[in-house]
């Protein structure tokens, strides 16, 4: 099984320095695109490979890039921003890539910047990811010394400088336009779209914001082609995916597997299944803001289309497992507490609705729930739904709630009837 993203990664030792990375075939993609490809050809290649965004939204990367104005009439300054603000609860895969192979991300950014002719790159990194920061800074310095970053990269006409911005901490910085506002020294509230960042992003210039894992696929697609990339997958969608599992399983962790590996295989074979004495009640397939799936869905392939058909979203592809000794109401409360706390406060449904929902769930957990509370919660999942809020934070928050009410309604009702949490 090919593992292009993690083949250089060994957590037992230091990551490859530049020399080691080059020996392992690194920076060949940079040489290749500068020599043999026009920028548009790189974008077309990424489109042909059907690389979907691995930050949560799953949008086609090549299509996203194709909206960036190109040519002599395009703005001279364009930005490529790597969204390394991994903060979706239950998600821990970008950390693995940055700590394990920092040069891979740097090469990915150079190649991707070439495709859109961006002159400035910024890695927007979690403050908490201190080891990533140290390793990336060292790798950037090495790349600059070797002429892979800066003016006239390895003697070509293409110039690209790369910097790291260490975030001051807020979930909304992971939202594309919130991130841009944070970089501009503003509160990370979202922006209206249109205009889309590809047209008017950072300081009004064309900007592509792309997830770490998505970017890391680009050099490999350049080196091996679109058909190769599609061939790595078990389903229609191309490539491999870094899947993760957390919760009360035997071996929580991350694994690079073919896109479309079934949920059951990830949880049972790679994560070892549930800890002894526990049963699986449900799972969030891709982080906190995805709908619960249950036992009947375990054979679903983990790709964007299949998980959507099952009624959820693949999101980040890191699975959170709910065991039968953890209370579904408690888990829902914990999730809504997170979303309520992280709401940026810009729009009313999110700012006022989420704390209201948190309060209702707290009352249920404390045995003070009333008949009608569940209907009220359901109404809120509609009020805070897609299209009714300024960004996707609140609709994302409603995904685990609406599905918990669907699959675990009996447990919610018991809290009301028994005036206590049956799990305590």
């Amino acid at each position: 099984m090919e593992r292009p993203l993690t083949r250089n990664i060994d957590p037992e030792r230091e990551p490859n320095d530049l020399v080691g990375y080059e020996k392992a075939g690194g920076y060949q993609a940079v040489r290749k695109v500068l020599k043999d490809f026009s920028p548009e050809q790189v974008t077309q290649l990424v489109k042909d490979a059907d690389l979907r965004g691995r930050g949560g939204a799953g949008f086609s990367t090549g299509v996203k890039w194709s909206f960036v104005p190109m040519g002599d009439d395009a703005p001279k300054t364009k930005y490529l921003v790597c969204n390394a603000d991994e903060m979706e609860p239950g998600t821990f895969k970008d950390r693995v890539l940055m700590e394990g192979d920092p040069h891979q991300l740097i090469e990915a950014m150079i190649v991707s910047a070439y495709a859109i002719q961006a002159s400035v790159g910024i890695i927007f990194l979690r403050w908490a990811y201190k080891l990533c920061e140290a390793r990336l800074r060292r790798a950037i310095a090495e790349a600059e010394d070797a002429g892979y970053l800066g003016k006239n990269i390895i003697g070509s006409d293409f110039s690209f400088e790369l910097a790291i911005h260490s975030s001051a901490g807020r979930y909304m910085c992971g939202e594309e336009t919130g991130l841009l506002n944070a970089l501009e020294g503003r509160r990370a509230t979202p922006r209206a779209k249109p205009p889309y960042p590809q047209i008017s992003g950072l300081w009004g210039k064309p900007t592509i914001v792309q997830n770490v894992e998505t970017l890391c696929n680009v050099p490999h697609i350049v080196n091996n082609g679109a058909e190769w990339f599609k061939g790595l997958s078990r389903t229609e969608e191309g490539g491999t995916k870094i899947y993760g599992v957390s919760g009360k399983v035997k071996w929580p962790g991350t694994w690079e597997l073919p896109m479309g590996t079934p949920i059951r295989e990830i949880i049972e074979e790679h994560a070892g299944g549930m800890q002894d004495g526990l049963r699986l009640r449900g799972l969030l397939p891709g982080g906190a803001s995805t709908d619960f799936l249950v036992e009947e869905h375990l054979d679903t392939p983990m790709d964007f289309a299949s998980i959507q058909k099952a009624g959820s979203r693949m999101g980040t592809g890191t699975i959170i497992v709910l065991d039968d000794q953890s209370c579904p109401v408690g888990v829902s409360l914990n999730l809504q507490q997170f979303f309520a706390r992280e709401s940026c406060g810009w729009c009313t449904p999110c700012r006022d609705g989420l704390p209201w929902i948190q309060g209702l769930l707290q009352a249920l957990e404390d045995g003070k729930g009333c008949d009608g509370d569940l209907d009220l919660l359901e109404q809120h999942t509609k009020y805070l739904g897609p299209g009714l809020t300024f960004c996707a934070l609140a609709p994302g928050a409603m995904e685990p709630l609406q599905s918990a009410l669907k699959y675990f309604r009996g447990d919610f009702e018991r809290h009301i009837r028994e005036r206590a949490c049956p799990w305590r």
Binding site: E86, P89, G90, G244, G247, K248
Partner: protein, 154 residues
């Protein structure tokens, strides 16, 4: 209240950005590097340096989880309370920490040594429960590890 050296550090940082206000978050972090937290006085002085109104800068400062607008102790404990850590028992770790330190979330010990704050997902969910003390990540926490850890910091 900023020393000449601190002002120079901030001015140097401002020089790296296309606009002055883009540097304001880094400027606030530099204030914290020297003073641990950002006071109203610091807001006034930094606002002037980045051509923002104090209210505007305060709006940015209060938005971010890791910019402290109240005094914090010598060491800040960031305890993850997101879903995977919750499933793996961060509630228990929190109660144990509270008991050992004699403070609740959001509070600082009387000797000014530790401030205890909740934090959203630290991105190490396969090693839950997790926490950070200053820039150090601590994983797979147990009550025993908490006790060890509290001794390890001055």
């Amino acid at each position: 209240m900023l020393s000449k050296k601190e002002r120079q550090e901030i001015l140097k940082e401002i020089g790296h950005y296309p606009t002055k206000r883009a540097a304001c978050v880094e400027a606030l972090k530099l204030v914290q590097k020297h003073h641990r937290w950002v006071s109203d006085e610091a807001i006034q002085e930094v606002a002037e340096m980045v051509d923002m109104s104090p209210a505007d800068l305060d709006g940015v400062a209060t938005f971010f989880n890791l910019i402290y607008r109240r005094p914090v102790g010598r060491h800040v404990i960031l305890l993850c309370d997101s879903v995977s850590c919750w499933l793996l028992g961060c509630g228990y770790i929190c109660r144990h920490l509270s008991e050992r330190l004699g403070i609740g979330l959001g509070e600082t010990t009387a000797d000014d040594k530790y401030t205890l704050l909740p934090m959203a997902c630290l991105g190490t969910c396969d090693h839950a429960p997790a926490l950070m003390v200053d820039e150090d990540l601590h994983q797979d926490m147990t009550a025993a590890k908490v006790d060890e850890l509290l001794e390890a910091y001055d």
